[in-house]
């Protein structure tokens, strides 16, 4: 699989670190109760289909970004601007 780094271009997936579902809403710092943090930290939609996710070009520019990938096909439809 090739990951389109918005800064460096397409690179092999092995250059990247995965950061999980990017659609989860992290409670703003200092807000949110135990349940909100539990839901954010531990539960996942885990869709079979379109998935927005964090990646870091850890062996490149080290920038984090989000992209849309279909988990049923691994097709990447683009970086989230």
């Amino acid at each position: 699989m090739r990951i389109p780094c918005p800064h460096c271009g397409e690179r092999d997936v092995s250059e990247f670190r995965y950061g999980g579902d990017a659609s989860r809403q992290r409670p703003a710092h200092g807000t949110g109760d135990l349940k909100a943090w539990h839901d954010y930290t531990f539960t996942f939609d885990n869709p079979k289909g379109p998935h927005t996710e964090h990646w870091q070009h850890v062996l490149g520019c080290r920038q984090w970004f989000s992209l849309n990938r279909n988990t049923a096909t691994n097709e990447i439809t683009g970086v989230v601007e």
């Binding site: 699989m1 090739r2 670190r17 950061g19 990017a22 992290r26 710092h29 200092g30 949110g32 109760d33 135990l34 909100a36 943090w37 539990h38 954010y40 930290t41 531990f42 964090h54 870091q56 850890v58 080290r62 920038q63 984090w64 989000s66 096909t73 691994n74």
Partner: protein, 976 residues
């Protein structure tokens, strides 16, 4: 008398160059251009192996990559490789080949006794027996089964070959150099595209190599000449496209003289011109040596100049085998055709008649006769005649080589017209051409290849279209004309009719699988092991699927097919691993002091990716003595330790203080410039992520250290927070782990040492109090002195740019020599910290909370910090949580071990206990073994005597729970 004779003329072998090779210790001869298989046939070796289960004698079935029977161990010593098909091994001088799975030899194999028990060994027989009489009876039977299974032998020596990996890019990757592939490569090449043409054979040309006549050879040679003249075309031979991975990443493995080269190709487009593989026919004793595929016989004849000694029978259900028949007849072989169909095409009849070939219509093969080798065949049906022959060539039709198209998950589609599976589609950027599409014919292949190239060029955005590829001047492709027998189980003659030759799966086994309900194609495969041998079912799958479909009353289209998985053909593990093995398995990280350490009596230890200084040479002291001496050095004088592996992160920006204040559980907002603070960070889940000290260099700049193990994790975590969530914070983080190095100057004499080393710097306790930080300039370089202590003694860390570390280290050693300063290693470093009660290593194992580590008081009450909410979950606040304690050994004659399980004195010694020991050391200061551990309720039990159990060595010792701060609880030494 041998079944094959070498012809005096023709073929692609070089009769002027004779090669010597060894087969089972026997010296034999072959020619340049031979494969091991053709050379063995030329030497009269018809029986070259034994089958997996029944040890039946086997000869070559094919002349190509689909070979199921002729497997050898090639090479000797540390180059010996088992299970190599002889059909794919170009003969070279001195080649050493050994047969497999037979003793003493393939021709006379004592293991053939297995055949006598054959009735027992039907499909799934293992599952029904070997269960009794006891629960674990399988343990008795298994060694026998294991010994009987397996083909070649593995050799324990390190691989003598050298394998490499090359990463490449191209516009068009063409797989296969038959007529379709050549045409595709030529068209793409002419348009200027960057082309890689991969051919698994030693010679390019594919099916053309097995044809006769000058016309085709002239076309092949001309095409190759033009391709070789194009600088943008790379031709690889002995290079097999093994798998296509996401993003059109193709693995092409290439055999070179000294090993394999793995090409990992990122292809913008891929043209699959992989051809087709011929199917065997299923009849009784169809595995007798001398029975082979019709295409293989054509190959042996036309390419390797090997003809059956006198007589051949061709059994076919389609027109393609007639080419073999005609070529044989032209070479003077007496040919009979057993035609399964009622009426073959008229022109074929006429041509056969002209060549004196007898044709029996409606006449499949009933049985083969002979001993170890074929002597005759008996036809079925009303003919029921017996025909003597040297070779029986069979053609059950052709299977397009669709394997690579389905690696991406596209299932093949059954095409009734050709009675075979064709690609079910192509992934983006992939195209097919020729026989792999089910287009059987030379001109069709050339047209397909050219067309695919044009599609690929368009896909690549290359607008220049190439000149048309001129096809060879041959007559039009003839029809394939296949007619599959209606009932594949019309076999009534007793005797085994093999579907999967290597795994000894018979037609009857498929019937059994059906009757027992293993209907799905996957169940069939798994229950009978069909298609799971080294040939991966290349010749067996479709026959078997068609049979199962027939038994279920379904069409093959309805019954479906199994999934093709990479690699296309068995691929050496070493080739995939490349050079990243052994010493180079993973990068070795070395501190800037590594070379100095190596030259100065240091013993290293692997610590994750790092090589760290473990202990130094103390005039021949044992490792256990050495680290104790190093501890004493620090406790009583001054020592110098390499701490360059610590994670070091530069945190800068107007919001840097706010950022750290959020990340650490304790406050950093008000940390004064010139001061360091110990901090702990949690994950979102409230468990401890890492600890370290962070110093404030200026209002907007901080210098963070992390543990060695978590340096990378912490860096990414900080970047994640800043880039994904707290984008409003103006902070930038940069890793200095490699750019900077550091050393700890520890011990009561450490200040004196610094004064000697940096006479101009003010390092008095007033100028540089505990947790004070200052940058000095030394030798033109910034040197950062941090008054930190891991050992609990008066101590400093001195950090500086990596290229200056060794000079600084040597300078301190020299300047402080009058104090007796010496280096100390990781073992002493870790032991000193245990005495001081600093958590590290096994205490920071992602399972522990702040409170577990006795650090709960550090957490700020008011300010928010990461992990604050989930840190307060019910179980994590439970009083019976296991938390950090110090432990003293009460029985000095006994040994204390890490990983011991802790129990209260009155507990029964079983179950999970009340805790465990994380770290153990000899305490020079206390003169006894001490440990850190986690214990139920922690220090509430201080003073209690407990038991540490180490049942792995049947040991139990008595311990006392004490404060984890074994030395200097008040911190007087730190503040000295």
């Amino acid at each position: 008398m041998t079944a094959f004779k070498r012809l005096d003329t023709g073929g692609r072998i070089d009769r002027s160059r004779t090669l010597t090779f060894t087969y089972d210790g026997q010296r034999l001869f072959g020619q340049v251009g031979d494969t091991l298989a053709s050379a063995l046939l030329a030497n009269g070796k018809m029986v070259v192996g034994r089958s997996f289960k029944y040890h039946r004698p086997r000869g070559f079935l094919s002349a190509g990559i689909e070979e199921a029977n002729g497997l050898f161990t090639i090479g000797e010593g540390n180059r010996a490789e088992p299970n190599i098909p002889g059909t794919m091994v170009p003969l070279v001088d001195g080649l050493v080949a050994r047969s497999q799975n037979a003793w003493p030899s393939p021709a006379f194999d004592l293991m053939a006794v297995n055949s006598l028990a054959a009735p027992l060994f039907g499909a799934g027989f293992y599952y029904k027996t070997f269960m009794g009489p006891f629960k674990k009876s399988w343990m008795f039977y298994e060694p026998f089964i294991r010994k009987a299974a397996g083909m070649g032998k593995a050799d324990a020596a390190k691989d003598g070959a050298r394998h490499d990996v090359e990463y490449g890019f191209c516009d068009v990757l063409v797989v296969g150099s038959g007529p379709a592939g050549l045409a595709a490569a030529l068209a793409a090449g002419r348009a200027g595209a960057k082309v890689i043409l991969a051919e698994q054979d030693a010679e390019p040309g594919g099916s053309l190599l097995s044809e006769s006549g000058d016309t085709l050879e002239r076309w092949r040679a001309a095409t190759l000449a033009e391709l070789q003249a194009l600088a943008n075309v790379t031709l690889l031979v002995r290079a097999t496209a093994q798998g296509i991975y996401d993003g059109n990443q193709v693995v092409v493995s290439q055999h070179l003289a000294n090993g394999q080269l793995l090409h990992v190709v990122r292809a913008r487009t891929i043209i699959l011109a992989t051809g087709a593989l011929e199917r065997p026919l299923v009849f009784s004793n169809n595995d007798r040596p001398g029975v082979m595929l019709a295409s293989a016989l054509r190959s042996y004849l036309n390419r390797f100049a090997l003809a059956p000694a006198a007589r051949a029978v061709i059994a076919t259900n389609n027109d393609s085998a007639y080419a073999t028949a005609f070529a044989l007849a032209e070479a003077g072989v007496a040919v009979t055709i057993a035609e399964e169909r009622a009426v073959p095409a008229g022109d074929l009849l006429a041509q056969a008649a002209a060549l004196g070939i007898a044709i029996f219509p409606n006449a499949g093969i009933a049985d083969t006769l002979g001993g170890n080798t074929l002597k005759a065949v008996r036809l079925k049906g009303r003919h029921s005649v017996t025909i003597e022959c040297d070779v029986l060539a069979m053609s059950g039709g052709w299977n397009p080589a669709v394997h690579l198209t389905s690696h991406g998950g596209i299932r093949p589609r059954y095409d009734e017209a050709i009675a075979a599976f064709v690609p079910g589609g192509f992934a983006d950027g992939q195209f097919g051409a020729g026989a792999m599409l089910g287009h059987f014919g030379l001109l069709a292949a050339v047209r397909d290849g050219e067309g695919a190239a044009r599609s690929a060029l368009t896909r690549c955005g290359i607008s220049k279209m190439p000149a048309a590829v001129e096809p060879p001047a041959v007559r039009d492709d003839r029809a394939y004309g296949i007619a599959v027998a209606a009932d594949p189980f019309a076999v009534t003659v007793p005797g085994k009719a093999f579907v999967d030759f290597q795994h000894d799966v018979t037609a009857k086994d498929i019937k059994v699988a059906h009757q027992e309900g293993y209907h799905s194609v996957e169940h069939l495969k798994r229950y009978t092991t069909l298609g799971m041998a080294t040939d991966q079912g290349k010749t067996s799958n479709v026959n078997a699927l068609a049979m199962m479909a027939a038994l279920r009353g379904l069409t093959p289209a309805e019954a479906g097919t199994t999934t093709f998985r990479p690699p296309f053909s068995p691929l050496t593990v070493g080739a995939l691993a490349g050079r990243s093995v052994g010493r180079h398995f993973r990068p070795t990280r070395r501190s800037p002091l590594h070379d100095w350490n190596a030259k100065n009596g240091c013993t290293f230890i692997e610590a994750g990716p790092w090589m760290r200084a473990w202990y130094y040479d103390w005039a021949g002291a044992t490792p256990q003595e050495a680290y104790v001496k190093e501890m004493e050095l620090v406790r009583k004088g001054v020592g110098l330790a390499d701490v360059s592996t610590l994670g070091k992160i530069d945190v800068q920006g107007p919001d840097a203080a706010e950022f750290l204040n959020r990340v650490y559980v304790n406050g950093f907002a008000k940390l004064p410039v010139g001061k360091a603070r110990y901090g702990v960070m949690l994950n979102d889940d409230g468990l401890v992520l890492d600890d370290g000290t962070t110093s404030r260099i200026s209002d907007t700049q901080f210098y963070m250290t992390t543990t060695t193990a978590q340096a990378g994790e912490v860096m990414s975590w900080l970047e994640y927070l800043l880039q994904c969530h707290w984008t409003d914070l103006k902070v930038h983080v940069s890793s200095l782990t490699d750019e900077w190095g550091g050393m700890a100057v520890s011990g009561p004499d450490s200040r004196k040492a610094l004064q000697l080393a940096f006479p101009d710097a003010e390092v008095s306790t007033e100028a540089l109090p505990y947790m004070g930080v200052k940058d000095i300039s030394f030798g033109g370089t910034t040197v950062r002195i941090l008054r930190l202590s891991f050992s609990g003694e008066l101590a400093y860390e001195v950090h500086c740019p990596a290229n200056f570390v060794t000079a600084l280290w040597e300078h301190i050693l020299k300047a402080a020599a009058p104090l007796g300063i010496k280096p100390y290693g990781l073992e002493a470093l870790a032991s000193l910290r245990i005495e001081k009660g600093h958590v590290a290593g096994l205490e920071l194992d992602h399972r522990n909370s702040l409170d577990d580590l006795g650090l709960g008081k550090m957490a700020a009450k008011e300010k928010p910090y990461i992990g604050k909410e989930l840190r307060l979950r019910e179980n994590m606040q439970a009083p019976e949580r296991w938390s950090l304690v110090g432990l003293e050994l009460m029985e000095p004659e006994k040994k204390l071990r890490g990983g011991s399980i802790l129990f209260a004195a009155t507990d029964e010694i079983k179950g999970h206990g009340r805790g465990y020991i994380t770290s153990v050391t000899w305490s020079t200061e206390l003169g006894k073994f001490i440990a850190l551990g986690l214990y139920n309720g922690g220090l509430r039990h201080e003073g209690e005597e407990i038991t540490a159990a180490f049942p792995l060595k049947n040991e139990q010792v008595k311990l006392k729970i004490v404060s984890p701060h074994f030395i200097d609880k008040e911190g007087a030494r730190l503040h000295a």
